[in-house]
Protein backbone atom coordinates (compact mmCIF):
# COMPACT_ATOMS: atom_id res chain seq x y z
CA UNK A 1 0.00 0.00 0.00
CA UNK A 2 1.23 3.48 -0.82
CA UNK A 3 0.36 6.38 1.23
CA UNK A 4 1.37 9.99 1.07
CA UNK A 5 0.47 11.87 4.13
CA UNK A 6 0.20 15.57 3.74
CA UNK A 7 -0.99 18.27 6.00
CA UNK A 8 -3.56 19.97 3.88
CA UNK A 9 -4.34 23.67 3.96
CA UNK A 10 -7.89 24.87 3.60
CA UNK A 11 -8.89 25.04 -0.06
CA UNK A 12 -8.71 28.59 -1.43
CA UNK A 13 -12.04 30.16 -2.46
CA UNK A 14 -13.00 28.58 -5.77
CA UNK A 15 -14.13 30.45 -8.85
CA UNK A 16 -17.71 29.54 -8.29
CA UNK A 17 -20.82 31.13 -6.90
CA UNK A 18 -20.25 33.60 -4.12
CA UNK A 19 -20.30 31.83 -0.83
CA UNK A 20 -20.86 32.94 2.69
CA UNK A 21 -18.23 33.52 5.27
CA UNK A 22 -17.35 30.38 7.22
CA UNK A 23 -20.29 29.63 9.51
CA UNK A 24 -17.96 29.16 12.43
CA UNK A 25 -14.78 30.94 13.46
CA UNK A 26 -11.71 28.78 12.86
CA UNK A 27 -11.70 26.40 15.80
CA UNK A 28 -8.99 26.41 18.40
CA UNK A 29 -7.69 23.03 17.32
CA UNK A 30 -6.68 24.59 14.03
CA UNK A 31 -6.81 23.57 10.43
CA UNK A 32 -5.37 20.19 9.62
CA UNK A 33 -5.92 18.89 13.14
CA UNK A 34 -6.63 15.16 13.17
CA UNK A 35 -10.28 14.33 13.70
CA UNK A 36 -10.60 10.59 13.28
CA UNK A 37 -7.95 7.91 13.16
CA UNK A 38 -8.41 4.33 12.11
CA UNK A 39 -5.75 1.83 13.15
CA UNK A 40 -5.85 -1.50 11.48
CA UNK A 41 -9.65 -1.37 11.59
CA UNK A 42 -11.99 -3.81 9.90
CA UNK A 43 -15.61 -4.80 9.68
CA UNK A 44 -17.09 -8.28 9.44
CA UNK A 45 -20.65 -9.10 8.39
CA UNK A 46 -21.06 -12.68 9.52
CA UNK A 47 -18.33 -14.66 7.77
CA UNK A 48 -17.50 -11.96 5.29
CA UNK A 49 -14.79 -9.41 5.97
CA UNK A 50 -16.13 -6.33 4.25
CA UNK A 51 -13.13 -4.34 5.34
CA UNK A 52 -9.80 -5.29 6.85
CA UNK A 53 -6.55 -3.72 7.97
CA UNK A 54 -7.51 -0.12 7.30
CA UNK A 55 -5.34 2.59 8.82
CA UNK A 56 -5.76 6.26 8.07
CA UNK A 57 -6.23 9.64 9.69
CA UNK A 58 -8.87 12.13 8.75
CA UNK A 59 -7.83 15.74 9.24
CA UNK A 60 -9.88 18.87 9.47
CA UNK A 61 -10.43 20.64 6.19
CA UNK A 62 -9.75 17.61 4.02
CA UNK A 63 -11.86 16.80 1.00
CA UNK A 64 -11.70 13.08 0.49
CA UNK A 65 -13.15 10.75 -2.12
CA UNK A 66 -13.49 7.01 -1.58
CA UNK A 67 -13.41 5.18 -4.89
CA UNK A 68 -13.39 1.57 -5.93
CA UNK A 69 -15.44 -1.10 -7.63
CA UNK A 70 -18.85 -2.18 -6.31
CA UNK A 71 -18.48 -4.19 -3.17
CA UNK A 72 -14.98 -2.90 -2.53
CA UNK A 73 -16.04 -1.58 0.86
CA UNK A 74 -16.48 2.13 0.19
CA UNK A 75 -19.77 2.51 2.01
CA UNK A 76 -18.55 0.30 4.82
CA UNK A 77 -15.47 2.48 5.29
CA UNK A 78 -17.65 5.56 5.21
CA UNK A 79 -19.89 4.21 7.95
CA UNK A 80 -16.89 3.09 9.93
CA UNK A 81 -15.45 6.60 9.80
CA UNK A 82 -18.85 8.08 10.67
CA UNK A 83 -19.05 5.80 13.66
CA UNK A 84 -22.32 4.05 12.87
CA UNK A 85 -20.48 0.75 12.38
CA UNK A 86 -18.21 -0.53 15.06
CA UNK A 87 -14.81 -1.92 14.19
CA UNK A 88 -15.49 -5.61 14.45
CA UNK A 89 -12.60 -7.49 12.94
CA UNK A 90 -9.34 -8.00 14.70
CA UNK A 91 -7.53 -5.67 17.05
CA UNK A 92 -8.41 -2.56 15.02
CA UNK A 93 -9.72 0.62 16.54
CA UNK A 94 -11.35 3.90 15.70
CA UNK A 95 -10.24 6.95 17.62
CA UNK A 96 -12.05 10.24 17.75
CA UNK A 97 -9.77 13.14 18.48
CA UNK A 98 -11.11 16.18 20.24
CA UNK A 99 -9.23 19.12 18.86
CA UNK A 100 -11.81 21.56 20.17
CA UNK A 101 -12.29 19.84 23.44
CA UNK A 102 -15.39 18.09 22.16
CA UNK A 103 -16.12 15.15 19.87
CA UNK A 104 -16.37 16.08 16.20
CA UNK A 105 -19.93 16.49 14.94
CA UNK A 106 -20.55 14.30 11.91
CA UNK A 107 -23.48 14.22 9.51
CA UNK A 108 -24.20 11.75 6.73
CA UNK A 109 -25.92 12.24 3.44
CA UNK A 110 -27.31 9.24 1.58
CA UNK A 111 -27.80 8.50 -2.09
CA UNK A 112 -31.52 8.19 -1.55
CA UNK A 113 -32.33 10.30 1.48
CA UNK A 114 -35.13 9.04 3.67
CA UNK A 115 -37.55 11.88 4.15
CA UNK A 116 -40.55 11.64 6.40
CA UNK A 117 -44.06 12.45 5.29
CA UNK A 118 -43.61 15.97 6.59
CA UNK A 119 -42.82 19.34 5.07
CA UNK A 120 -39.27 20.09 3.95
CA UNK A 121 -38.74 22.44 6.87
CA UNK A 122 -40.08 19.93 9.37
CA UNK A 123 -37.64 17.32 8.12
CA UNK A 124 -34.77 19.66 8.87
CA UNK A 125 -36.24 20.71 12.22
CA UNK A 126 -36.55 17.06 13.13
CA UNK A 127 -32.87 16.44 12.51
CA UNK A 128 -32.05 19.39 14.74
CA UNK A 129 -34.35 18.09 17.43
CA UNK A 130 -32.75 14.65 17.30
CA UNK A 131 -29.39 16.30 17.59
CA UNK A 132 -30.44 18.09 20.75
CA UNK A 133 -30.56 21.62 19.46
CA UNK A 134 -32.70 23.77 21.77
CA UNK A 135 -36.09 24.82 20.45
CA UNK A 136 -35.28 28.50 20.27
CA UNK A 137 -32.53 27.91 17.72
CA UNK A 138 -34.23 25.30 15.61
CA UNK A 139 -36.40 27.56 13.49
CA UNK A 140 -33.58 29.93 12.64
CA UNK A 141 -31.07 27.24 11.77
CA UNK A 142 -33.67 25.46 9.67
CA UNK A 143 -34.35 28.55 7.59
CA UNK A 144 -30.64 29.32 7.20
CA UNK A 145 -29.99 25.78 6.04
CA UNK A 146 -32.84 25.87 3.54
CA UNK A 147 -31.68 29.21 2.21
CA UNK A 148 -28.17 27.92 1.89
CA UNK A 149 -29.30 25.18 -0.47
CA UNK A 150 -31.83 27.31 -2.27
CA UNK A 151 -34.97 25.63 -0.96
CA UNK A 152 -36.33 28.43 1.19
CA UNK A 153 -39.33 28.83 -1.13
CA UNK A 154 -40.25 25.16 -0.79
CA UNK A 155 -40.00 25.01 2.97
CA UNK A 156 -43.67 24.23 3.49
CA UNK A 157 -43.98 21.68 0.73
CA UNK A 158 -44.27 18.00 1.63
CA UNK A 159 -40.72 16.72 1.33
CA UNK A 160 -41.82 13.68 -0.63
CA UNK A 161 -43.22 15.77 -3.42
CA UNK A 162 -39.90 17.43 -4.22
CA UNK A 163 -37.87 16.41 -7.25
CA UNK A 164 -34.85 14.14 -6.93
CA UNK A 165 -32.41 17.01 -6.98
CA UNK A 166 -34.47 19.04 -4.53
CA UNK A 167 -34.68 16.08 -2.16
CA UNK A 168 -30.92 15.69 -2.30
CA UNK A 169 -30.48 19.37 -1.55
CA UNK A 170 -32.91 19.00 1.32
CA UNK A 171 -30.80 16.15 2.65
CA UNK A 172 -27.80 18.43 2.37
CA UNK A 173 -29.66 21.14 4.26
CA UNK A 174 -30.60 18.60 6.90
CA UNK A 175 -26.98 17.61 7.32
CA UNK A 176 -25.59 21.13 7.14
CA UNK A 177 -28.08 22.48 9.71
CA UNK A 178 -26.33 20.38 12.31
CA UNK A 179 -23.21 22.48 11.74
CA UNK A 180 -21.09 19.39 11.33
CA UNK A 181 -17.33 19.24 11.49
CA UNK A 182 -17.38 16.37 9.02
CA UNK A 183 -19.87 15.72 6.26
CA UNK A 184 -20.02 12.15 4.97
CA UNK A 185 -21.71 11.66 1.62
CA UNK A 186 -22.65 8.27 0.20
CA UNK A 187 -22.96 8.48 -3.59
CA UNK A 188 -24.78 11.79 -3.22
CA UNK A 189 -25.46 12.39 -6.91
CA UNK A 190 -25.66 8.87 -8.28
CA UNK A 191 -29.40 9.05 -8.90
CA UNK A 192 -29.54 12.62 -10.21
CA UNK A 193 -29.66 14.02 -13.69
CA UNK A 194 -26.64 16.14 -14.78
CA UNK A 195 -28.06 19.56 -13.91
CA UNK A 196 -29.22 18.45 -10.46
CA UNK A 197 -25.84 16.83 -9.99
CA UNK A 198 -24.10 20.10 -10.81
CA UNK A 199 -26.23 21.96 -8.24
CA UNK A 200 -25.42 19.50 -5.51
CA UNK A 201 -21.71 19.47 -6.37
CA UNK A 202 -21.60 23.25 -6.20
CA UNK A 203 -23.20 23.17 -2.77
CA UNK A 204 -20.80 20.55 -1.52
CA UNK A 205 -17.85 22.55 -2.83
CA UNK A 206 -19.19 25.67 -1.14
CA UNK A 207 -19.58 23.83 2.14
CA UNK A 208 -16.07 22.50 1.88
CA UNK A 209 -14.87 26.02 1.21
CA UNK A 210 -16.60 27.07 4.42
CA UNK A 211 -14.42 24.70 6.33
CA UNK A 212 -16.50 21.55 6.56
CA UNK A 213 -14.42 18.42 6.17
CA UNK A 214 -15.99 16.27 3.45
CA UNK A 215 -15.67 12.56 2.82
CA UNK A 216 -17.64 11.10 -0.08
CA UNK A 217 -17.96 7.84 -1.91
CA UNK A 218 -18.50 8.10 -5.62
CA UNK A 219 -18.51 6.14 -8.83
CA UNK A 220 -18.11 9.32 -10.78
CA UNK A 221 -14.38 9.86 -11.23
CA UNK A 222 -14.94 13.30 -12.72
CA UNK A 223 -16.74 14.19 -9.51
CA UNK A 224 -13.84 12.88 -7.49
CA UNK A 225 -11.50 15.02 -9.49
CA UNK A 226 -13.70 18.06 -9.06
CA UNK A 227 -14.46 17.81 -5.38
CA UNK A 228 -11.67 15.89 -3.69
CA UNK A 229 -8.10 16.69 -2.68
CA UNK A 230 -7.32 13.22 -1.47
CA UNK A 231 -8.41 9.93 -2.97
CA UNK A 232 -8.67 6.63 -1.11
CA UNK A 233 -8.85 3.63 -3.42
CA UNK A 234 -10.41 0.44 -2.04
CA UNK A 235 -10.27 -3.02 -3.49
CA UNK A 236 -11.83 -6.14 -1.99
CA UNK A 237 -12.10 -4.60 1.44
CA UNK A 238 -8.56 -3.28 1.62
CA UNK A 239 -7.28 0.24 1.37
CA UNK A 240 -4.83 -0.01 -1.54
CA UNK A 241 -4.05 3.63 -2.26
CA UNK A 242 -4.13 6.90 -0.35
CA UNK A 243 -2.98 9.69 -2.69
CA UNK A 244 -3.56 13.32 -3.47
CA UNK A 245 -6.04 13.73 -6.31
CA UNK A 246 -3.54 14.95 -8.92
CA UNK A 247 -1.35 11.99 -8.21
CA UNK A 248 -4.18 9.44 -8.40
CA UNK A 249 -5.54 10.82 -11.63
CA UNK A 250 -2.15 11.51 -13.24
CA UNK A 251 -2.77 10.59 -16.88
CA UNK A 252 0.95 10.10 -17.51
CA UNK A 253 1.63 7.59 -14.81
CA UNK A 254 -1.54 6.10 -13.28
CA UNK A 255 -0.81 4.18 -10.10
CA UNK A 256 -0.39 0.48 -11.00
CA UNK A 257 -2.65 -0.87 -8.25
CA UNK A 258 -5.58 1.08 -9.64
CA UNK A 259 -4.66 1.04 -13.31
CA UNK A 260 -7.30 -1.43 -14.35
CA UNK A 261 -9.92 0.28 -12.29
CA UNK A 262 -9.09 3.65 -13.82
CA UNK A 263 -9.22 2.19 -17.28
CA UNK A 264 -12.48 0.39 -16.66
CA UNK A 265 -14.44 3.29 -15.21
CA UNK A 266 -15.58 5.69 -17.87
CA UNK A 267 -14.60 9.20 -16.94
CA UNK A 268 -17.99 10.84 -16.65
CA UNK A 269 -18.13 14.49 -16.98
Amino acid sequence: MRRDELALPIAPPSAGPAHQVAHRPVPAGGVGAPLITLRDAGVRFGDVAALAGVSLTLQRGEQIALVGANGAGKTTLLRLLHGTLPSSAGPGSRIEHQPDGRAPVAAMMFQRPFLLHLSAARNVRLALWLHGVPRAERAARTMRALERVGLAGLAARPARTLSGGEQQRLALARAWALEPDILFLDEPTASLDPSARREVEQLVAALAADGVTTVMTTHNLGQAKRLARRVLYLDHGRLRLDLPTERFFDPQRPPPEAAEFLRGELPWN
Binding site: H82, T84, M108, F110, P113, F114, L116, H117, L118, L126, A127, L130, H131, G132, P158, R160, T161, R174
Partner: protein, 241 residues
Amino acid sequence: MDTIADSLHLALALIADADERLLAIVGLSLRVSATACALGAAVGLLGGAWLAVARVPGHRLLVWASNTLLALPAVVVGLLVYLMLSRAGPLGDAGLLFTPTAMVIAQAVLVVPLIAALARRLVADAMTEGGEQLRSLGAAPMTAAMLMLLHTRFGVATVLLTAFGRAISEVGAVMIVGGNIDGVTRVMTTAIALETSKGDLPLALALGIVLLGVVGLIYGLIAVVQALSSPRAAATRQAWA
Protein backbone atom coordinates in the same frame (compact mmCIF):
# COMPACT_ATOMS: atom_id res chain seq x y z
CA MET B 1 -86.71 -12.16 2.05
CA ASP B 2 -89.76 -10.64 3.68
CA THR B 3 -87.83 -10.29 6.87
CA ILE B 4 -85.16 -8.24 5.13
CA ALA B 5 -87.66 -5.95 3.43
CA ASP B 6 -89.51 -5.53 6.73
CA SER B 7 -86.24 -4.75 8.44
CA LEU B 8 -85.31 -2.03 6.00
CA HIS B 9 -88.65 -0.33 6.54
CA LEU B 10 -88.33 -0.76 10.25
CA ALA B 11 -84.80 0.64 10.25
CA LEU B 12 -85.89 3.78 8.44
CA ALA B 13 -88.85 4.15 10.81
CA LEU B 14 -86.57 3.79 13.83
CA ILE B 15 -84.22 6.43 12.51
CA ALA B 16 -87.05 8.79 11.63
CA ASP B 17 -88.61 8.41 15.07
CA ALA B 18 -85.29 9.01 16.80
CA ASP B 19 -86.62 7.11 19.78
CA GLU B 20 -84.92 8.20 23.00
CA ARG B 21 -84.01 4.72 24.12
CA LEU B 22 -82.53 3.90 20.76
CA LEU B 23 -80.48 7.09 20.80
CA ALA B 24 -79.23 6.25 24.27
CA ILE B 25 -78.19 2.79 23.13
CA VAL B 26 -76.44 4.13 20.04
CA GLY B 27 -74.72 6.79 22.13
CA LEU B 28 -73.47 4.25 24.62
CA SER B 29 -72.16 2.01 21.84
CA LEU B 30 -70.20 4.89 20.35
CA ARG B 31 -68.84 6.09 23.68
CA VAL B 32 -67.76 2.66 24.86
CA SER B 33 -66.08 1.66 21.62
CA ALA B 34 -64.43 5.03 21.02
CA THR B 35 -63.02 5.14 24.55
CA ALA B 36 -61.87 1.56 24.24
CA CYS B 37 -60.11 2.36 20.99
CA ALA B 38 -58.44 5.40 22.47
CA LEU B 39 -57.10 3.34 25.35
CA GLY B 40 -56.25 0.48 23.03
CA ALA B 41 -54.42 2.87 20.73
CA ALA B 42 -52.29 4.24 23.54
CA VAL B 43 -51.18 0.75 24.53
CA GLY B 44 -51.25 -0.85 21.11
CA LEU B 45 -49.38 1.81 19.15
CA LEU B 46 -46.62 2.03 21.73
CA GLY B 47 -46.49 -1.72 22.04
CA GLY B 48 -46.45 -2.26 18.30
CA ALA B 49 -43.74 0.36 17.80
CA TRP B 50 -41.67 -1.21 20.55
CA LEU B 51 -42.09 -4.69 19.09
CA ALA B 52 -40.84 -3.41 15.74
CA VAL B 53 -37.52 -2.22 17.14
CA ALA B 54 -36.93 -4.14 20.36
CA ARG B 55 -34.04 -6.55 20.53
CA VAL B 56 -34.70 -8.02 23.95
CA PRO B 57 -34.55 -11.79 24.46
CA GLY B 58 -37.97 -13.32 23.96
CA HIS B 59 -38.98 -10.62 21.53
CA ARG B 60 -39.84 -13.15 18.82
CA LEU B 61 -42.14 -14.82 21.29
CA LEU B 62 -43.94 -11.55 21.91
CA VAL B 63 -44.41 -10.98 18.19
CA TRP B 64 -45.83 -14.49 17.85
CA ALA B 65 -48.14 -13.82 20.81
CA SER B 66 -49.42 -10.54 19.41
CA ASN B 67 -50.18 -12.20 16.09
CA THR B 68 -51.90 -15.17 17.73
CA LEU B 69 -54.02 -12.93 19.92
CA LEU B 70 -55.54 -11.46 16.76
CA ALA B 71 -57.70 -14.57 16.77
CA LEU B 72 -58.82 -14.09 20.37
CA PRO B 73 -62.59 -14.50 20.42
CA ALA B 74 -64.46 -11.60 21.94
CA VAL B 75 -66.35 -13.88 24.28
CA VAL B 76 -63.09 -15.24 25.70
CA VAL B 77 -61.88 -11.71 26.34
CA GLY B 78 -65.20 -11.05 28.03
CA LEU B 79 -64.77 -14.06 30.27
CA LEU B 80 -61.22 -13.16 31.26
CA VAL B 81 -62.13 -9.58 32.08
CA TYR B 82 -65.21 -10.80 33.92
CA LEU B 83 -63.10 -13.07 36.10
CA MET B 84 -60.76 -10.17 36.84
CA LEU B 85 -63.50 -7.71 37.71
CA SER B 86 -65.80 -10.08 39.56
CA ARG B 87 -66.04 -9.53 43.29
CA ALA B 88 -64.46 -12.90 43.68
CA GLY B 89 -61.61 -11.81 41.45
CA PRO B 90 -58.45 -9.72 41.90
CA LEU B 91 -59.94 -6.37 40.92
CA GLY B 92 -63.32 -7.05 42.49
CA ASP B 93 -63.12 -4.28 45.04
CA ALA B 94 -63.35 -1.70 42.31
CA GLY B 95 -66.96 -2.74 41.76
CA LEU B 96 -66.63 -2.28 38.01
CA LEU B 97 -68.54 -5.31 36.81
CA PHE B 98 -71.78 -4.67 34.91
CA THR B 99 -70.83 -1.05 34.26
CA PRO B 100 -69.87 0.75 31.05
CA THR B 101 -66.33 0.99 32.41
CA ALA B 102 -66.06 -2.77 32.39
CA MET B 103 -67.19 -2.77 28.78
CA VAL B 104 -64.55 -0.21 27.89
CA ILE B 105 -61.89 -2.34 29.53
CA ALA B 106 -63.01 -5.50 27.77
CA GLN B 107 -63.10 -3.87 24.36
CA ALA B 108 -59.75 -2.21 24.95
CA VAL B 109 -58.24 -5.60 25.76
CA LEU B 110 -59.83 -6.91 22.59
CA VAL B 111 -58.38 -4.29 20.25
CA VAL B 112 -54.88 -3.96 21.71
CA PRO B 113 -53.49 -7.07 19.91
CA LEU B 114 -55.07 -5.88 16.68
CA ILE B 115 -53.57 -2.41 16.91
CA ALA B 116 -50.21 -3.69 18.12
CA ALA B 117 -49.80 -6.30 15.41
CA LEU B 118 -50.76 -3.92 12.62
CA ALA B 119 -48.73 -1.02 14.01
CA ARG B 120 -45.73 -3.31 14.33
CA ARG B 121 -46.04 -4.18 10.66
CA LEU B 122 -46.30 -0.51 9.66
CA VAL B 123 -43.32 0.53 11.74
CA ALA B 124 -41.20 -2.46 10.75
CA ASP B 125 -41.74 -1.80 7.06
CA ALA B 126 -40.96 1.87 7.47
CA MET B 127 -37.87 1.05 9.50
CA THR B 128 -36.65 -1.19 6.69
CA GLU B 129 -36.92 1.75 4.36
CA GLY B 130 -35.42 4.49 6.50
CA GLY B 131 -34.52 3.16 9.92
CA GLU B 132 -30.81 3.23 9.29
CA GLN B 133 -30.90 6.84 8.17
CA LEU B 134 -32.95 7.91 11.17
CA ARG B 135 -30.52 6.15 13.44
CA SER B 136 -27.64 7.93 11.72
CA LEU B 137 -29.41 11.21 12.48
CA GLY B 138 -29.14 10.28 16.11
CA ALA B 139 -32.52 8.75 16.81
CA ALA B 140 -32.67 6.08 19.51
CA PRO B 141 -34.56 2.95 18.39
CA MET B 142 -37.80 3.78 20.17
CA THR B 143 -37.65 7.38 19.01
CA ALA B 144 -37.19 6.17 15.45
CA ALA B 145 -40.16 3.84 15.89
CA MET B 146 -42.38 6.65 17.14
CA LEU B 147 -41.26 8.87 14.26
CA MET B 148 -42.24 6.08 11.91
CA LEU B 149 -45.71 6.03 13.45
CA LEU B 150 -45.91 9.72 12.61
CA HIS B 151 -44.55 9.01 9.16
CA THR B 152 -47.15 6.32 8.48
CA ARG B 153 -49.95 8.21 10.18
CA PHE B 154 -52.46 7.52 7.44
CA GLY B 155 -51.82 3.82 7.77
CA VAL B 156 -52.18 4.23 11.51
CA ALA B 157 -55.51 5.97 11.02
CA THR B 158 -56.76 2.99 9.03
CA VAL B 159 -55.59 0.69 11.81
CA LEU B 160 -57.56 2.69 14.36
CA LEU B 161 -60.66 2.72 12.22
CA THR B 162 -60.33 -1.04 11.84
CA ALA B 163 -60.04 -1.39 15.60
CA PHE B 164 -63.11 0.77 16.12
CA GLY B 165 -65.03 -1.40 13.69
CA ARG B 166 -63.96 -4.51 15.57
CA ALA B 167 -64.97 -3.01 18.90
CA ILE B 168 -68.33 -1.61 17.97
CA SER B 169 -69.42 -4.77 16.18
CA GLU B 170 -68.51 -7.27 18.89
CA VAL B 171 -71.10 -8.65 21.25
CA GLY B 172 -69.38 -11.44 23.19
CA ALA B 173 -67.27 -9.30 25.48
CA VAL B 174 -69.73 -6.56 26.32
CA MET B 175 -72.52 -9.05 26.94
CA ILE B 176 -70.57 -10.86 29.63
CA VAL B 177 -68.97 -7.96 31.43
CA GLY B 178 -71.84 -5.54 30.93
CA GLY B 179 -74.77 -7.84 31.52
CA ASN B 180 -76.94 -6.11 28.91
CA ILE B 181 -78.73 -4.17 31.65
CA ASP B 182 -81.56 -2.13 30.25
CA GLY B 183 -80.71 1.56 30.32
CA VAL B 184 -77.26 1.01 31.79
CA THR B 185 -75.11 -1.36 29.77
CA ARG B 186 -77.24 -2.16 26.77
CA VAL B 187 -75.47 -1.36 23.52
CA MET B 188 -76.42 -1.89 19.90
CA THR B 189 -74.97 -5.36 19.58
CA THR B 190 -76.41 -6.70 22.83
CA ALA B 191 -79.78 -5.20 21.91
CA ILE B 192 -79.61 -7.02 18.59
CA ALA B 193 -78.76 -10.25 20.39
CA LEU B 194 -81.65 -9.72 22.76
CA GLU B 195 -84.21 -9.09 20.02
CA THR B 196 -82.94 -12.11 18.13
CA SER B 197 -83.35 -14.30 21.17
CA LYS B 198 -86.85 -12.94 21.65
CA GLY B 199 -87.63 -13.98 18.13
CA ASP B 200 -88.17 -10.44 16.88
CA LEU B 201 -85.97 -10.88 13.84
CA PRO B 202 -87.07 -7.83 11.81
CA LEU B 203 -86.28 -5.57 14.74
CA ALA B 204 -82.95 -7.26 15.28
CA LEU B 205 -81.98 -6.81 11.65
CA ALA B 206 -83.28 -3.25 11.67
CA LEU B 207 -81.02 -2.44 14.62
CA GLY B 208 -78.18 -3.99 12.68
CA ILE B 209 -78.88 -1.70 9.76
CA VAL B 210 -78.99 1.28 12.12
CA LEU B 211 -75.63 0.27 13.57
CA LEU B 212 -74.04 0.04 10.13
CA GLY B 213 -75.64 3.34 9.22
CA VAL B 214 -74.20 5.11 12.23
CA VAL B 215 -70.72 3.72 11.67
CA GLY B 216 -70.95 4.54 7.96
CA LEU B 217 -71.92 8.08 8.84
CA ILE B 218 -68.92 8.49 11.10
CA TYR B 219 -66.46 7.13 8.55
CA GLY B 220 -68.07 9.32 5.93
CA LEU B 221 -67.60 12.40 8.10
CA ILE B 222 -63.95 11.50 8.63
CA ALA B 223 -63.44 11.23 4.88
CA VAL B 224 -65.13 14.57 4.30
CA VAL B 225 -63.01 16.29 6.94
CA GLN B 226 -59.87 14.87 5.39
CA ALA B 227 -60.84 16.01 1.94
CA LEU B 228 -61.76 19.49 3.10
CA SER B 229 -58.75 20.11 5.29
CA SER B 230 -56.42 20.35 2.32
CA PRO B 231 -57.49 19.55 -1.21
CA ARG B 232 -53.97 19.40 -2.58
CA ALA B 233 -52.64 17.46 0.36
CA ALA B 234 -55.55 15.11 0.01
CA ALA B 235 -54.72 14.51 -3.63
CA THR B 236 -51.11 13.91 -2.74
CA ARG B 237 -52.15 11.54 0.01
CA GLN B 238 -54.13 9.57 -2.53
CA ALA B 239 -50.91 8.98 -4.39
CA TRP B 240 -49.08 7.74 -1.29
CA ALA B 241 -51.89 5.60 0.10
